[in-house]
Amino acid sequence: MKVNYILNGEKKEFEIHPGEVLLDVLRRYGYKEIKGNCYMGTCGACAVLINGTPKTTCTTLAAQVNGAEITTIKGIGTINNPHPLQTAFVEKGAVQCGYCTPGAIISAYALLKKIPNPTEEDIKKALDGNLCRCTGYVQQIEAVKYAVKLLKGDDK
C-alpha cells in the first residue's frame, strides 16, 4: 500500500507493507538519522515528531500515521545550520557514541516548543524515555539548559 507524509517539510509518498512500523519504512527510504534499537518503545532512540508530538517510530505503524507531518532530527537543523539544541549538545559534551542523540534532541525540541523556560524537573521528565548509556544524563540536562540560553540569545 502507499502512504503519504510531509517529511521534514517535503511531500513524500512511500510504498509500505501494511504491517510495517514507521522506523523501518523511514530507514528503508534513507532516513538513517532515525536509530532503531529496542522495538518496544522503551529506549527512545527512534523518536521523531509526528504532527509535532514526539513518538517512538518503532511502535508506530506506518499506515496509522498516513498523511501526518513527520520531523526527524535533520528537519530541526543540519550540520551547516544546526539548531541551538544541536549546538548545545555538542558544546556541553552531551554526545558520546551519539546513538541516542537524535531521539533525545527530538524530545528536548518538543519540550522547548511547549515550555520555553523549562525547570530541571521538566527537562528530566521530557527526556525520561530516552535512554543514554554514555553521558549519564547530566550533560544532556545541562545542554538543554544551555540551549534555552542560546535560543534567548543569552549565552554569555
Binding site: P18, G19, A47
Partner: protein, 284 residues
C-alpha cells in the same frame, strides 16, 4: 524487522458503527488499533486486518452533566494537559497519569486502548476503576454503557471482539473527594510491580464512599473491599492510617512472580495506603 507479517490490509472506517461492523465481519483476524503501542510491541501473528480509528472523532475531552467524557483516542499526555482536568481532585488524577511510563509512551498510549488491553499491570485501569469510570462501546447496532468494574468481571475480551470503545466517562467529583495513587517501578519505562489508588469523600474528617483498587499484584487490579469496609465512616487520624497500613499488609491479595515476591508486594501496598491516606489528611 517486519513484526506484523500477516497483515494484509489497513482499513479506515469513518464511523464507529462501521468500525464495529468490520470488526464483527473479520472476527479474530482483525484488530482495532488505538494508540498502536500494544500491537507493535507485542504483535499478534493472527492479525490480517488493522482497523484504524483516525477518521472518527474520538479525540475529545468534555465536561457534561457532572461527568468527564474522554474519547477513546485521547492519549495519556492529552489527558494530563487538558485544562478541565488539571485541577480535578487537586491535580492528583493528572499527576498520577503523568507518573505512568515515559513521556514518549504517554504520547502514544490511548485511553481506549489501555482499557481494551487491560494488562494486569495497567496503571490506567487501576486509576479508572478507582474513579468509578464507565465505558461506552458500540457493537455496530447499539451503544452500551457499562461500569468498567462490571465490564472486567465479564468476559470483556469477548465483548470487545465485536465492539469498539467510544468513550470513557467518570464523575467530576467535587473537592470533598480526595484521590491518590502510588506505583512501584524500577525505572521510567518499567511496568509496575504494584499499584494502589484510593478515592474517598472526607466529611467532618470521616472517610465516606471510599474506593480502593490494587493492581499489578501481579494479577489485574481488584477492589480491596475489606479495606474499604475497615476504613468506612472512620475518622482520618494518625492511628487509623497506621492501622490501615497494617491491615493492608495482612489482607491484600498479592502473589509471587519472577519479579518480586508476595510479601514484598504486601509491604509495598501497606506503605502506599499509608502515604495516600497521609496526603489526604494534609489536604483536609
Amino acid at each position: 524487522m517486519l513484526k506484523l507479517k500477516e497483515v494484509k490490509e489497513c482499513l479506515y472506517p469513518s464511523s464507529i458503527e462501521e468500525a464495529a461492523r468490520i470488526l464483527r465481519e473479520k472476527g479474530d483476524k482483525a484488530k482495532v488499533v488505538g494508540g498502536g503501542l500494544h500491537i507493535s510491541a507485542f504483535p499478534n501473528p493472527l492479525i490480517e486486518t488493522l482497523i484504524f480509528l483516525n477518521k472518527i472523532d474520538l479525540n475529545y475531552i468534555l465536561i457534561k452533566e457532572g461527568f468527564f467524557h474522554v474519547g477513546a483516542l485521547v492519549s495519556i499526555t492529552e489527558l494530563t494537559e487538558n485544562n478541565g482536568l488539571k485541577g480535578f481532585l487537586r491535580g492528583n488524577v493528572t499527576n498520577s497519569f503523568c507518573s505512568i511510563a515515559s513521556e514518549l509512551l504517554r504520547n502514544q498510549i490511548s485511553m481506549g486502548g489501555s482499557i481494551a488491553q487491560r494488562e494486569p499491570y495497567s496503571d490506567v485501569a487501576t486509576i479508572l476503576l478507582t474513579l468509578n469510570s464507565k465505558v461506552i462501546f458500540h457493537n455496530g447496532n447499539i451503544e452500551e454503557t457499562v461500569p468498567l468494574e462490571e465490564l472486567y468481571t465479564k468476559n470483556f475480551r469477548l465483548i470487545l471482539k465485536e465492539s469498539v470503545i467510544k468513550e470513557i466517562i467518570f464523575p467530576n467529583y467535587d473537592n470533598s473527594y480526595h484521590f491518590g495513587m502510588g506505583r512501584f517501578v524500577r525505572n521510567a519505562t518499567d511496568i509496575p510491580l504494584l499499584n494502589v489508588a484510593i478515592l474517598s469523600k472526607i466529611e467532618v474528617n470521616k472517610l465516606k464512599n471510599i474506593r480502593i483498587f490494587i493492581g499489578a499484584r501481579p494479577a489485574p487490579a481488584y477492589g480491596f473491599k475489606t479495606l474499604e469496609d475497615f476504613l468506612k465512616d472512620k475518622e482520618l487520624s494518625e492511628g487509623l492510617i497506621k492501622s490501615a497500613r497494617e491491615f493492608t499488609k495482612e489482607n491484600v491479595e498479592a502473589e509471587n512472580d519472577m519479579r518480586i515476591n508476595k510479601d514484598c508486594r504486601k509491604q509495598i501496598a501497606g506503605v502506599f495506603v499509608e502515604k495516600i491516606l497521609t496526603e489526604f489528611s494534609k489536604e483536609v
